[in-house]
């Protein structure tokens, strides 16, 4: 057993445990926290896969930003009561479907092995990404920025109280 494999197993356990906890915990906040575990585990995988920059971004965006946003979301809405139970029939149908889906995909990817391994990813990883972004992918990059801007504005507009609603709120 190599050290790499050991690390993989540890990360795998962390990630899956986080996922399972998310599915099985009852309080919403706890679920969020379990997910942070998963996100961190995934970041570990990124490092193993010579993607330091992505790993850092993962930690920043997911474990940081998105989690915080979601926590805000939870706090702004009702969260005190426990997650209501879903019917067994529906759960069963979904679970069976997912297990079948898993088995089929698993069968497909179990022994997959593609081409040679890329060796130079860890060399100046961030630089490589930066070059790539500003050369080949400059247009998508700019578009993504527009998307982000739109999302920002959209989120503000959506979350802002309607003036009409406000008036009605005042009247009532």
């Amino acid at each position: 057993m190599t050290g790499e494999l050991l690390v993989f197993i540890v990360l795998f356990l962390i990630t899956i445990t986080g996922g399972l906890l998310m599915l099985n915990l009852t309080k919403v906040i706890h679920m969020m926290m379990a997910l942070v575990l998963t996100f961190l585990g995934i970041a570990g995988f990124y490092i193993m896969l010579s993607a330091e920059f992505v790993a850092v971004v993962q930690i920043l965006i997911y474990s940081g930003a998105i989690t915080i946003i979601m926590l805000f979301g939870i706090m702004l809405t009702k969260h005190t009561e426990a997650e209501p139970k879903t019917g067994w029939a529906k759960k069963g149908v979904v679970f069976t479907g997912i297990v079948l889906f898993f088995l089929i995909m698993f069968k497909g990817i179990r022994t997959i092995s593609l081409g040679p391994q890329a060796d130079d990813l860890h060399v100046n990883n961030t630089e490589q990404i930066g070059i790539m972004l500003y050369t080949d992918y400059v247009i998508p990059f700019e578009l993504v920025s527009v998307v982000l801007l739109v999302a920002l504005v959209g989120a503000v507009v959506l979350a802002k109280k309607d003036e009409k609603d406000e008036k009605e709120g005042e009247q009532s």
Partner: protein, 614 residues
């Protein structure tokens, strides 16, 4: 002879004219009487030209069944010509009589239009040269009878009686219909001539021929009120009395006898069928006569008497007495029509039908009483009146045919006939009970007088003394039928007369001498049995009416619960399937995506399994 067609057409014209001018023209009776009178004259002319020219037949194509052409036509042969005269004569007289009897009825015109339709149908029936046409008119007269019995439609009894009359006769009609079908497939034709030739040539198997003859007889039983389909005829007395005289005494009910006479070649070819006819006739004769003994309603007594006399005719026909049967049919038409019209005159005068509530009417209604007496004597077989000769002929034939049991029954019936007729006569016309009554107008009396004369002299067309004119004429037929002309023993007329007079005497002893007789409510067993008409009505009510209702309810519940239930189950299943679909459309994204994902899994599974990845 070429104006034979006028005979049915004139009454039809009467029907149509009255039907369409009903709201504007008030002289319906006159129109009907005139046109029927014209038809009667035509019949007379046809009768006499038949003596000169013999049989007559005209036919036209009607429609085709594939290659078989079905025709309609008019036929005159001795039997037809005689029937025509009887029908049109009685119809004419009844028309005339009704002008007085129905004068105050608000549906006066309707009555005459029905009478016209009936006369049309009856003459059409008589003139038919083929069985299909005969059957059509056969049903039509049934409908007219139905309409006229139910003429007082607001009376529930009339409604029930009309329905009963139609349905009971239809049961018989179905027998006739089946016989017609069988004959058609045996001979390929409805024409009587063709059928008779085939029967004579032996083209029809004997057993089948017997079956056909009996089926035809079933039709006759229904129409002529023979046992066991007799119960409608007494009930049919709910109709106006002239109708009872015309339809339920003289013409339509005699159509059964006529039918047997018309298809006589078929009957004479089968001994079993003949015996059936004779036994049914004889049994009906005495059966109905006994019921008439206990009946209290004037018209119903006459109705049972009609049944009994029709049984007599059947007995004659069954005993190979073709002439005797037709002869009695003729005389019976006269005296029974007379009796009914006279009874109508009484009812018209006193508005009462129970004979125990009448009495002493001979003083108030002398003419009616005299005419009724003539009729009663004639039907009882009093010597030298019409009924005497025809009854003798029947008794002689039965004796000559060797059916001694039936002969005795015939004699007994003759005695009973005299008894119940004079029971009726004495109770109604003698005694000194005083009832308000006025003699009928002459428009009613004249027809009765004409019939009275005929009831006296009508018998002389066929006697052993002055010649058997009627028989010689009737029996001119191209078919070989074994007509029986036994040498009647001299004692038969004697015994018959004695029995008739004996019957009258017994009636006198029981009913004639007393001044007034109350209807007694105490009845012994036999009397009750007779009074309840042997419980035949009750039996039918219980057996057939209830029976069919039970079956009907059974099927209705099967329909309602099993078939509707099955249908409901199908609809329920469809509905549930639809509801399941509706449930999926819950508006919840999760449900939608679950369905979409399940679809994906199914597709993947299919690809995996069919593609052999597993």
């Amino acid at each position: 002879m070429d104006y034979v067609f006028l005979i049915p057409i004139l009454p039809l014209l009467s029907f149509l004219i009255i039907l369409f001018t009903k709201p504007i023209y008030k002289k319906a009776g006159l129109v009907g009487t005139t046109l029927t009178g014209a038809a009667f004259l035509c019949s007379l002319v046809v009768l006499f030209s038949h003596f000169a020219q013999g049989n007559y037949l005209v036919e036209a194509n009607w429609f085709s069944i594939d290659t078989v052409m079905i025709s309609v036509g008019l036929e005159v042969n001795p039997l037809n010509a005689l029937m025509l005269v009887i029908v049109t004569l009685v119809s004419f007289l009844v028309h005339m009589y009704s002008m007085g009897y129905m004068a105050n009825d608000e549906r006066y015109a309707t009555f005459f239009s029905y009478l016209g339709l009936f006369t049309f149908s009856m003459t059409g029936l008589v003139l038919s040269p083929n069985l299909l046409q005969l059957y059509m008119f056969w049903e039509l007269v049934g409908v007219c009878s139905f309409l006229l019995v139910g003429f007082y439609f607001y009376k529930p009894e009339a409604r029930a009686a009309a329905k009963k009359a139609f349905i009971m006769t239809r049961i018989g009609d179905v027998g006739l219909l089946v016989a017609i079908f069988l004959l058609f497939w045996q001979t390929g034709s409805f024409e009587l001539d063709v059928i008779f030739q085939a029967a004579q040539a032996g083209d029809i198997a004997p057993s089948l021929l017997t079956l056909i003859a009996i089926l035809i007889f079933v039709g006759a039983v229904g129409k002529s009120g023979q046992f066991p389909l007799h119960t409608w005829l007494p009930d049919a007395m709910e109709g106006p009395t002239p109708v009872s005289a015309l339809i339920h005494a003289a013409t339509m009910v005699a159509a059964g006898v006529y039918l047997v006479a018309v298809t006589y070649p078929l009957f004479s070819a089968s001994e079993v069928a003949m015996t059936t006819v004779a036994v049914t006739g004889g049994f009906t004769a005495i059966f109905a006569a006994t019921i008439a003994l206990a009946e209290t309603d004037m018209k119903r007594i006459l109705a049972y008497s009609t049944i009994s006399q029709l049984g007599y005719m059947m007995l004659a026909l069954g005993a190979a007495g073709y002439t005797a049967g037709v002869f009695h049919l003729t005389t019976h038409a006269f005296f029974k029509a007379l009796l009914f019209l006279a009874a109508g005159s009484v009812i018209h005068a006193v508005h009462e039908q129970n004979i125990f509530k009448m009495g002493g009417l001979s003083k108030k209604l002398p003419k009616t009483a005299a005419l009724f007496l003539i009729g009663s004597l004639s039907i009882s077989g009093f010597p030298l009146l019409a009924g005497f000769f025809s009854k003798d002929e029947i008794l002689a034939t039965t004796y000559g045919d060797g059916r001694y049991v039936l002969f005795v029954i015939g004699l007994l019936t003759a005695f009973l006939t005299a008894l119940y007729m004079f029971r009726l006569y004495f109770l109604v016309f003698l005694g000194n009970r005083s009832t308000e009554a006025r003699e009928a107008p002459s428009v009613m009396l004249i027809p009765m007088m004409v019939l009275g004369v005929l009831a006296v002299v009508g018998g002389y067309i066929q006697t052993n003394w002055f010649g058997t004119f009627l028989g010689d004429w009737l029996e001119t037929t191209p078919y070989t039928i074994a007509f029986v002309h036994p040498e009647a023993p001299f004692w038969i007329p004697l015994v018959a007369s004695l029995l008739a007079i004996g019957g009258i005497a017994v009636a006198w002893l029981v009913y004639g001498r007393k001044t007034s007789i109350e209807e007694s409510n105490e009845r012994n067993g036999l009397h009750t049995l007779l009074y309840r008409k042997y419980y035949v009505d009750e039996l039918y009510q219980g057996l057939f009416v209830r029976g069919s209702r039970v079956v009907a309810y059974f099927w209705m519940y099967v329909d309602r619960f099993i078939i509707e239930g099955g249908a409901a189950a199908v609809t329920y299943a469809v509905k549930r399937f639809g509801q399941a679909g509706v449930k999926l459309q819950s508006g919840q994204v999760q449900t939608y995506s679950t369905v979409a994902f399940s679809g994906l899994v199914v597709v993947l599974l299919l690809i995996a399994v069919l593609g052999g990845y597993f």
